[in-house]
Amino acid sequence: MANIIVSVLFQGLAYAMFLFIVSVGLSVTMGLMGFVNLAHGAFAMAGGYLVLTAMRVWEVPFFLALLLTFLIVGAASVVFERVFYARLYKATELDQVLLTIGLTFMAIATYTWLYGPRPQTIQLPDYLTGQIDVASRTFPTYRVFVIMVGGILTAVLWYAFERTNIGAKIRAAVDNRRMAQSIGIDVDRLFTLTFAVGSGLAALGGGLAIELFGLTPSFAVLYLVFFLLVVACGGLGSLKGTLAAALLLGICDTAGKYIYASAGGFFIYAVAILILLIKPAGLYGRD
């Protein structure tokens, strides 16, 4: 029994960290501009394929590939933000949904054309494969690694959010955009910056996910639902909320699949809907 609990918590934690890394950018950008970005999953998918290409074609080591992906996708996302998103900041939610669904479809088609529809895998470095023994239990090394990356990123983001000048500006703009603008904070530029970092993190998450779930072009839509669930349940623009929601949903999903395997992904939706019915603005959201 204790074994099962530890195992569920461990697996759930790894899944939660993946959800957090990808969703955090979405949450902050949505909190800043209220922009419904359904193409966020496509950035994660693009990141996965970039890691794949970096390792296979350019023969870059895994860590460097992750870093490159973060930088390249983050920079590329600025182009999308300026060309497409910036035109629709003041548009209705429906327009934003349609535009980003359109971009997602184009991305899926393009990546299917480039890489084919079959799931892809990567060759991990030796030190990330295998098992680690801790207190007479064994844990898969790669999942430990994902949890560590998630932990480090959480700490870095927390510091950036709570202790730096830019973080303070972002928090101010999320709380009250017009007030922040009137005291001279350039919210548009702030948004571009957070959009780039958020998309870069999504791409990094996509790279980490290859080994966990396999990579297909439909990743962009398949996991988008979970990212949206995490963002909505956590509360827009809240770092703490996103982390809490990612942990809750990640662990509930893993536990649900252990307890009642055939019910598959049913639990995560039930939990999420319950949270949203009770707290429509999310756990740490503002009504």
């Binding site: 327009d95 184009m106 088609a109 598959g264 049913f266």
Partner: protein, 355 residues
Amino acid sequence: MAATDTSAAAAAHALADARTRAVDFMARRHHFGVAEALPWLLAIAAFFLFPDRMAFGSQVLLMVLFALSLDLILGFAGIVSLGHAAFFGLGAYTAALLTLRGGWEEQISGLFAAAAVAAVAGAATGWLLLRYRGLTLLVLTLSTAIMLQELGNVLRDLTGGYDGLPGLIFKPLLGAFDYDLFGHVAYLYALAVLFVLFMVVRMIVYSPFGQTLAGIRENVARMHAIGSPVHLRLVAVYTIAAAIAGVAGALFTQTNQYVTLGVFDFDNSAGVMVMLILGGTGRLYGAFVGAVIYMVLQDYISKLKLTVWGLAVDGPQYWQFGVGLLLVLTVLFARRGLLGLIEDAGRLVMRERRP
């Protein structure tokens, strides 16, 4: 003094004139225009022009019906739902399970059953969800559809899971007309159902109830202020739209004689929204134009085999890219859909007619 008198008289006259025009507009706008016969005549013409494509034609018509149901909530009431396929799927499975597990093979009563099941689901989820807006509503509607899909997978002994339920058997329509190989019966059946439900929707839209919906779409706060029961109205229209989507789903099952859990896919919810946006929302016939263009293009492009820069492209991928591009272009440049574009073009030509 005299000058103010004349200008006051002119203003009063202009006001009376505007009032007459407004009353005239309100009194006449629900009258049938000649142009409204066009889509129906075209649908009948298609029956004689493409006799060997009628199986496909019936699928187009049921998608028109599905898009029409979405227009009711999206175009007229302004509810953005990412999970409208939930009701299409419920209707589809109601029709399938009635014949397969219940032995009820009569089709028209099957449509009513599908409408009833979808309406109950619509009322229940609508009552719960429609008090929310924005991202929360998007996520909740999306989750509803996926949860139903997961539920169908859990109950795979009943629903056949992702393999679906093939080879369903139905009684001939009206006891006399069995489905033929070319889909002639299916086409006429779908057309008749579409016509009846279209008239129902048309009546709803032009009723006082339809006007309150437009009011809610345009300004919720004001509708609350004048004492309109906003939530009740939204739940009512959501229920009606769910019932119609359920009928479209049942038609899908009956005319194809199979169903899979794919009907609950996000692609289905998104697809029907794309159709409606392409045609134009909030104008009834947008569903026609959008669904026909979408389905015909999809049918044509999906069969293509192309090579782009030395890499082979399968038709479906090419099509998916095309849909994405169409969506982006529509949002950026033709926000009111194709019918809106035609209207704008018409206005440019006829500009001299009214100052």
